[in-house]
Amino acid sequence: MPTPTKGARLGGSPAHERLLLANLATQLFEHNRIKTTEAKAKRLRPYAEKLITKAKNAVAAQAQYEKDTPEADRTDKRGNAKVAPANLHNRREIQKVIRDKDIVHKLIAEIAPQFAEREGGYTRIVKTVPRKGDNAAMAIIELVAEQTVTSEANRARKTRFAKDEKAKAAATEAPAEAADEKASDEAPYGEGSHAPLEDVNEAPEGFPVKGNADSMLYHTPDSRYYEQTEAEVWFATAEAAEAAGFKLPASQQEDKDEESSEDES
């Protein structure tokens, strides 16, 4: 049996709390992330995750039904598609809470398949600075967008492979400048870029800007973290680095006078 919630209700009365949690859950599924007080976020988390579980059950029931029932038996006399009873049940359980049918549909059609691989822990709470006015502790609660570790590892392998391919393609386009080095090694990110020399800490002549291929950030010589960065590629100018898709970190983009940047992530 579930343990009853102790203490005062959110909003003062049980009815108010019920509506408040239902509204918060609806908003969470609509916007994927919401900012609320920490107390509400903590109460919302199990509440919303149970709804996601019901949505996943609905999806699984429908899939099982379609697997078990021959296609001819899945339409009724009027030719409408039949729905698995467990799908309908779970859908109605969700509709007890979420009164907006668009959101119910989004929950089952979009959010539940996205969490197919994940076994619980569908939401994440991150605390933020207290609210101005009443200094209430605030938090952001969001649906976890990342895939679980195994699928993420597969994807990372894919992207690294794709990046190598892209670098090679870009390199073959770039004209070969030095005779003793192959063209594909010379300018891996197009014009204005230079592959590292034998001594990785030595800047190639005329290429003072360091590029970090892991984080896709570039570092100018006056950056605080320039010294400790190991350059995978060198650029002639910051503009050449920008053109190759390298960036200043988000926090540094507003004031470019103080050009420090993030180290290897």
């Binding site: 605390k127 600075v129 988000a250 926090s251 540094q252």
Partner: protein, 60 residues
Amino acid sequence: MAVPKRKMSRSNTRSRRSQWKTTAVHLVECSNRACREPKPQHVACPTCGQYGGRQVTQPA
């Protein structure tokens, strides 16, 4: 019902209130190496918007 016998003097009021003190908020350096701004612990950085290496908010 218990009722105060005398008006409380300004001196007494102010003496009592002189004990009201605030404490400094405990701040730590942001773990984002490009930021390093002081921020409350266990909270997404209000300056750069990162927490635990993840961009959580867009700073205002």
